[in-house]
Amino acid sequence: MAARVVVNVPASAKKGDVIEIRTLAGHPMETGFRHTQTGQLIPRDIILRFSCSYNGVEVFAADLHPAIAANPLISFTTVATESGTLEFKWTGDNGFSAAHTSTLSVV
């Protein structure tokens, strides 16, 4: 099942402007510290890494840990340098992987 992600990027920006990007990925971020009612440990299942590439160049990346809340929200900024695509990637435990591409036009 493809993971649901929401990415908020302005559609257009002036050259040199700092734009804010907000991302949200649908994921339980199971910590690996909880037990079921029968006492079995629930194995860890988290997103480990998030990255954002601007026209193929990585401009932001983050390593996530179990202390990140479920459905991780990550917000950061970047400078609008040229029109192009922003690629977002999430990878994690159990082969989890999600991706999203946004286009940004710089005027």
Binding site: V18, I19, E20, R22, T31, F33, R34, H35, Y54, V57, V59, F60, A61, A62, D63, L64, H65, P66, A67, I68, A69, A70, P72, L73, I74, S75, F76, T77, T78, V79, T81
Partner: protein
């Protein structure tokens, strides 16, 4: 005989004592010590033993947290963000979680501004620490003491 004035002074004292003891109320001292050591180890690893200086970093966490499962955290760092002088990484830690690390964000001059937001789980009342690692290798820090009423990891009974 206890006058009204005496009573008020006593009550204020008891409240203050309760608040100062709060940080250790839920976890046993042994685990608190272990987690403190783990935190110091994690900080040392991420900064490479660089000296931590106060300032330049603004950590924004609500001081009173109703629900530790989702705590908004914003970190802003004063930096020109030029190729010569920028923030390389922002590290976030908590004192009382089973693992101290929350997040490690890697930035560069193309970020424009050093400002990130995320949501974290916080297990118990204690410190939240943000460390910004600059391109010249210096480390700046800010910390906030928070009070958590509903802990994350509550199902665990805080082992």
């Amino acid at each position: 005989m206890t006058t009204r004035r005496h009573f008020l002074i006593l009550a204020a004292g008891a409240t203050a004592a309760g608040a100062s003891g709060l940080a250790h109320a839920q976890l046993s001292p042994n685990i608190v010590a272990q987690r403190k050591a783990a935190l110091e180890e994690a900080i040392r690893k991420s900064t490479g033993g660089a000296e931590l200086k106060k300032g330049r970093v603004a950590l924004d966490v609500p001081p009173l947290i109703d629900n530790g499962n989702s705590v908004p955290i914003t970190v802003k760092v004063e930096s020109p963000m030029t190729p010569e002088d920028h923030v390389k990484a922002i590290h976030l830690f908590t004192e009382k979680n089973p693992q101290p690390y929350i997040m490690n964000a890697q930035l560069g001059p193309r970020a424009g501004r050093a400002a990130i937001t995320t949501r974290a789980r916080i297990a118990d009342s204690g410190r939240v620490i943000a460390i910004a690692q600059m391109s010249d290798g210096s480390c700046w820090t800010d910390e906030v003491s928070v009070v958590v009423t509903l802990s994350a990891c509550l199902e665990d009974g805080l082992i």
